[in-house]
Subunit: 348 residues, 2 copies
Amino acid sequence: MGRTTLQQIALSLNLSVTTVSKALRSYPDVSEKTIQKVKEAAKLLNYKPNTFAVNLRTQESKTIGLVIPEIVHQFFSSVIKGVIEEAEKNGYVVIVLQTSQDFETEKKRIEFLIDKQVDGILIAIADQTVDCFHLYEVQSMDLPVVMFDKISKSVSCSKVIIDDIKAGYEATKHLIDCGCKNIAHFRGPLTSQNSIDRYLGYKKALEESGLKFDESNVYHCIKMNFEEGQEQAQKLLQNNRSVDGIFINTDMVAVGAMTEFKAQGIKIPEEISIVGFGNWFLSSVITPSLTTIDQPSYTMGKIAFNTLLSELTKRKKNEHVEHETVILPTEIIERESTLARKKFNISL
Amino acid sequence: MGRTTLQQIALSLNLSVTTVSKALRSYPDVSEKTIQKVKEAAKLLNYKPNTFAVNLRTQESKTIGLVIPEIVHQFFSSVIKGVIEEAEKNGYVVIVLQTSQDFETEKKRIEFLIDKQVDGILIAIADQTVDCFHLYEVQSMDLPVVMFDKISKSVSCSKVIIDDIKAGYEATKHLIDCGCKNIAHFRGPLTSQNSIDRYLGYKKALEESGLKFDESNVYHCIKMNFEEGQEQAQKLLQNNRSVDGIFINTDMVAVGAMTEFKAQGIKIPEEISIVGFGNWFLSSVITPSLTTIDQPSYTMGKIAFNTLLSELTKRKKNEHVEHETVILPTEIIERESTLARKKFNISL
DNA sequence: CTGAAAGCGCTTACAG
DNA sequence: CTGAAAGCGCTTACAG
């Protein structure tokens, strides 16, 4: 009963615990013979290092925290998958925590992770996060932080993101290329950098193309869910029937809006063209299929972990850590919610 | 710099480490006065117990492992959410690991969790898992295991499941009630208990209703993804054009099948009625919307965690642990993929 | 009511 | 090349 300890291996071989410990990790100052002998015995006795003891001794847990707004969400669950797979390869364990986009919850989660003594933290901040003192605190405890997707410019750390301005620009430009003249935008929360940047990209595309930018064509979403898509679509129809294209912040909201338009008998893309954001699976099976911006999620998770890992490694070697910002590429995926209209224009 | 230790509190108050340790946990053999004093000092110095030391001393980590087939999957990501929320409430941390439905990977993940010294394991086994020696090993190390959703009857442990036979029966019965006479079934892997049971429910409903059960009407899915739904639908159309209803093992496969039928100009539900399984969000926004079986996921996660927690607690008190099997209710959600046909029959 | 001591299982400077 | 000793920070039997 009970796990095998170094003590037991030492006893069985008439060696000291010190030597056994070193031999197992192939220290150069242990003879090859001893190393062999010890490793054999360890295997025989099914020795596994006691993680608790190792943690206490080395003051590291090989555990990182991953803080995200929502778990049940195609984008974030793909990120989780990327992080976990990469972590597993490197012997790290991941503690996943959810904030539900709430600032107070986020602060609590960070506190929890500090208490649990993780080696570092990966975070996509909540839309409702208004300051980052909780993250400065993490950094002041000498724990590295890497932000991804939902970042704050106020934190000096490595970041893994996409270029939301460019993506928003391209989405809008596509609508313009399809012949839309009066393009609306469903944006996200004012505090979210993603939303701000996509909105700026939208605005830039309109201005560059000589189309009028009209603030009343911008609809605000807070929760970014299906129902909000329906609501904003309804509002849009009441306000302005001349809109012929919409760039929508997220596929889920876009699907909500499409459902509302379909229910009201409005034809997509003939009457209104729509571009979503994220390239969620959903967007490919909805009718009509949704033109959207493909955004790397799985890859973002992998790169975020590896960025953190490299900082962890450098710190251990007392090397200087340079923060980097990795920008991943996005791509427009053209589908039926804009395609037909494009064809129509070409044939003119 | 550095965390406050008991030592430091003790020094600052001229007390022993022992007394400080006990006071912080309000031991009855410490004077009320001392308790107050110590707690104040602890707060002042921002004391946080060193998890590593506590783990080593108590030989428990307040960490559990959660092993699932796929993270990017509506059902499982909801389970994760339920587990994590419940764990967080109880001061537990969750390590999520994915098997990709692969048996070898599952064995590795379990090994990893044993190495990391989790207090217990929650698992939905992979479809390709053929034996459970790896789980017996966990139990032999005196770690509690709780299985949920994808279980094996060969493991003696607590389980949280749904009644798949009943659910499959009701899904099929609904098709029969809608007037379908020739009902096919898209089933899952032969090794999955869920698939077996849903299939048995399908068979039972047919037999009870005096409809012929024909093995050639049963189509096997292995990966249970969108593409397989398309493939099997295609195969079905080549085989047998007289099928007028299908009960499909999972919403994702059902959506694949529907996409294929629509592409081939086959009307749903007029020509073929379809019932899916899971009540994924997808099923409500697809056109036509999909009739399906609602299966609790978030709740299943919560209950699975609490079942494990109660075993953990009992073990600590050296109480006898009785394994229990919790069966959660399912419900049929009627939508357009069967509804129209039902109306049609009623009007006859 | 308080505290000295042992010990959880490991790693790492240091001595020989 | 090997090992004795200290120590990571805590908890818990035990003594007083």
